[in-house]
């Protein structure tokens, strides 16, 4: 009997020590994430007068912080004595890691997040970020960007990313010509026919970096403005919970067409391991003909070491991915933005950093040195560097032939971006069907809306 009691106690002790991890983190999240703790730190932060000698941490997903910005960070340190520590996290882990830190009260001084609907819900920006409405740069900040980084008229963020353009299909004109393709595809059938020709010419048609866990969703959402054109009112219905993703045949067709691209080998053999960071070098080498990139990336491709064929900027062009035969330009005013953590002890230093990077000369420095940045959504009098290719391409679509990307107009969608990407990867590998991917989106939307107490879902 005695031995039995000892056994039970020992096993219970062992188990408790195992599960305490989950439990304690949960409770600490509750305690540390409370607004009381945040406001206490807020006071201590704002009371600081001199920030020199301090270190601020900028946490961001891979590809959100340009090398040029890090150089600006060094200059900032020279001028102010404030050291900037950039914490760059792999894209597929970033959101989980950031939210865990925010929810446990351990946020970095400056954190990065995509602006838009999710700020108020997922990131709880009103609790986790500082009001930036009255900063010196506020009047020069794009009104529309301020709307996307704000909640209830209060601006909490700074979009430090070129949202003046979105991602489009960058293609290599010489490889197209060599494969006998004379014009860019405008329908899905034309796209598959062109991809077949490229394959036949020994070129892998599309570079699709699935490994990062975010890019593949963009293939869908950057074409999804066609949905509202084909079925007017669908976006509104989705937001009112009067329509479901899973019931929408157009959405299913879009996913099936994406899957077709993967299954027909248009993404190559290695797309599940391919990373976004290598996109420019693979495009420069001529191994791939097309990739969804920002137009500014063309100059980076040309300057890449792998460009042994001597491609020039004129050898690259842009077209819209014609999933569901989409020919509406994608507009995406939201993007990676910076927020100052309300619990930071270095709020003043963080504000100085933001103030520094948006100075006219520094924005110009970024535009001149970060080849994929052509402009920023803050007008400090800088000179944008749109290429002729970009201007011609954007100029060929009027307002009637443009539309906002899906994540900017549909609620509870951007929050599950990484899950959708994982599910699309599962669809490519045959583990899920398009119906299951769409159903999973509906389920997670219901979960998020339920947690947020959205009356449309009750």
């Amino acid at each position: 009997m005695k031995r039995k009691i000892v056994s039970i106690m020992l096993s219970a002790a062992m188990v408790v020590s195992l599960t305490a991890c989950g439990g304690s983190s949960a409770s600490s999240a509750s305690a540390a994430g409370s607004s009381a703790a945040a406001s206490e730190s807020k006071e201590s932060g704002s009371s600081e007068s001199s920030a020199a000698g301090t270190t601020i941490t900028v946490m961001a997903s891979q590809d959100w912080v340009e090398d040029s910005e890090q150089e600006l960070g060094k200059k900032f340190e020279e001028e102010t004595g404030i050291h900037v520590d950039y914490e760059i996290v792999p894209a597929d882990q970033y959101q989980d890691l950031l939210l865990t830190r925010l929810n446990s009260g351990e946020g970095p001084d400056i954190w990065g997040a995509q602006s838009g609907f999710a700020l108020a819900t997922t990131y709880n920006v009103t609790e986790n970020a500082v009001d930036l409405s009255n900063e010196s740069w506020a009047s020069a900040y794009s009104e529309f960007s301020a709307e996307q980084t704000g909640v209830d008229g209060v601006n909490y963020g700074l979009t430090y990313y070129d949202t003046t353009t979105d991602y489009y299909m960058v293609y290599n004109k010489k490889l197209f010509e060599a494969a006998g393709i004379n014009d860019v595809p405008k329908t899905f059938d034309e796209l598959t026919a062109d991809c077949d020709k490229l394959l036949a010419s020994g070129v892998t048609p599309i570079y699709e970096p699935v490994a990062d866990g975010w890019h593949q969703t963009m293939l869908w959402t950057a074409s999804a403005q066609v949905l509202d054109k084909l079925d007017p009112g669908i976006i509104d219905k989705l937001n009112k919970n009067e329509a479901k993703f899973a019931d929408n045949e157009n959405m299913k067709t879009m996913l099936d067409q994406l899957n077709t691209l993967a299954q027909k080998g248009y993404f190559g053999d290695n797309y599940m391991s391919d990373e976004f960071a290598n996109a420019e070098s693979y495009m420069a080498s001529g191994e791939f003909a097309i990739c969804m990139l920002k137009p500014g990336a063309i100059s980076s491709i040309v300057a890449n070491d792998q460009n042994t064929a001597g491609y020039t900027e004129d050898d690259f062009g842009l077209f819209l991915l014609p999933i569901l035969d989409n020919q509406y330009l994608n507009i995406h005013p939201t993007g990676p933005s910076r927020f100052i953590y309300s619990g930071s002890k270095n709020i003043d230093a963080a504000k100085k950093y933001l103030e520094y990077i948006v100075q006219k000369d520094n924005i110009q420095y970024l535009i001149d040195n970060a080849s994929d940045v052509e402009n920023l959504p803050i007008d400090m009098g800088q000179t944008p560097e749109y290429s002729k290719t970009t201007l011609d391409f954007l100029g060929s679509y009027d307002d009637a032939h443009s539309g906002m990307v899906l994540q900017d107009v549909v609620k509870y969608f951007n929050e599950q971006w990484m899950d959708i990407s994982a599910n699309l990867a599962a669809m490519f590998t045959g583990d899920m069907t398009s119906e299951e991917v769409l159903q999973a989106i509906d389920d997670e939307r219901a979960q998020l809306a339920g947690a947020a107490g959205d009356s449309n879902w009750n």
């Binding site: 599960t19 439990g23 950031l98």
Partner: protein, 291 residues
């Protein structure tokens, strides 16, 4: 002599109190929260009964896959680490040339932080530019090249393989200590009786190692059920959800602010561990002499 007289219960009171405050109470609170709708989105907390548990066990979600994967990971890694660890321990407890060097080589991976190991192996196992496939191609074994971490059929086994590679040295070290503690006279007696190497292993080494093996198995099972960082660093649950385990699921739920769902998965593991832990400790203490 009655040991209870030497060590009265209150000697442990301080530790028990601290342990209760820091581990038991948060653990129990975690279970309580799994019956609520606790989330980052609302300040209100409502009792929802078994709703979260029903969701975990419903076929709709991916949770059952997480549970199956965790159990599969634990089962395979325990068998492989113990088997290989025992093999290496027996081989390296003999007087062979460079014994300590071999021991060090096998033990070293377990010293490396798991995240470092994971990130290193994501590079080594890259199908196109990774060291492993490059090596295989260089020696003409192209047929053996695989998409180690992205082929749904083998990704989970690759994760297990890396974990076994990392953990086997540690198990080997524990077992070597156990083998060296076996008095040599048993082997001499067995040799005089005409026992061959296999018989000496089967009838002397194995029975005398039973307690050490039990400890290593318990350690491995606990580690396996808790597995998180290795999966997180190597595949982050992918491709798709093929390599998701319970704690990556908990992490994702918690990071989304869906705390109740996260604690529910933790609680499921808690309940499972109560049963498993009870039987394992019982087996562990089975042959202990009660004085």
């Amino acid at each position: 002599m009655n040991k209870a007289k030497i060590y009265p219960w209150y000697f442990a009171a301080g530790s028990v109190l601290i342990y209760t405050l820091l581990s038991v109470i948060p653990g129990i609170m975690g279970i309580c929260y799994s019956f609520t709708d606790w989330s980052a989105y609302s300040k209100e907390l409502h009792f929802v009964g078994f709703q979260n548990f029903l969701e975990v066990f419903s076929a709709k979600g991916q949770y059952l896959t997480y549970i199956t994967n965790t159990l599969l990971f634990t089962f395979v890694t325990v068998i492989m680490k113990t088997g290989l660890g025992l093999l290496f321990a027996v081989a390296l407890s003999r007087d062979i040339k460079g014994k300590n060097f071999h021991r060090a080589v096998l033990y070293l991976p377990s010293v490396l932080p798991i995240l470092v190991t994971g990130l290193t192996f994501t590079s080594i196992l890259n199908p196109k530019i990774g060291f492993l496939n490059t090596l295989l191609r260089a020696v003409g074994l192209d047929a053996l090249t695989q998409k180690w971490l992205v082929d749904p059929k083998i990704a989970f086994f690759s994760v297990m393989g890396v974990d076994i590679w990392r953990g086997v040295g540690y198990i080997m070290t524990l077992l070597i200590a156990g083998i060296l503690a076996i008095p040599n006279i048993y082997y001499e007696a067995a040799a005089i009786d005409g026992a061959n190497a296999w018989q000496r292993f089967k009838y002397v080494t194995l029975p005398m190692l039973r307690q050490t093996l039990a400890v290593t198995i318990v350690l491995n099972v606990i580690y396996g059920l808790k597995i998180f960082d290795m999966v997180y660093a190597l595949t982050n649950g992918g491709p798709g959800h093929r390599t998701e385990v319970l704690y990556t699921g908990v992490f994702k739920m918690m990071s989304k602010g869906l705390y109740a769902e996260g604690t529910t998965i933790s609680s499921v593991l808690f309940i499972f561990m109560i049963f498993l832990g009870y039987f394992m400790v019982k087996i562990l203490t089975k042959d202990e002499v009660v004085e």
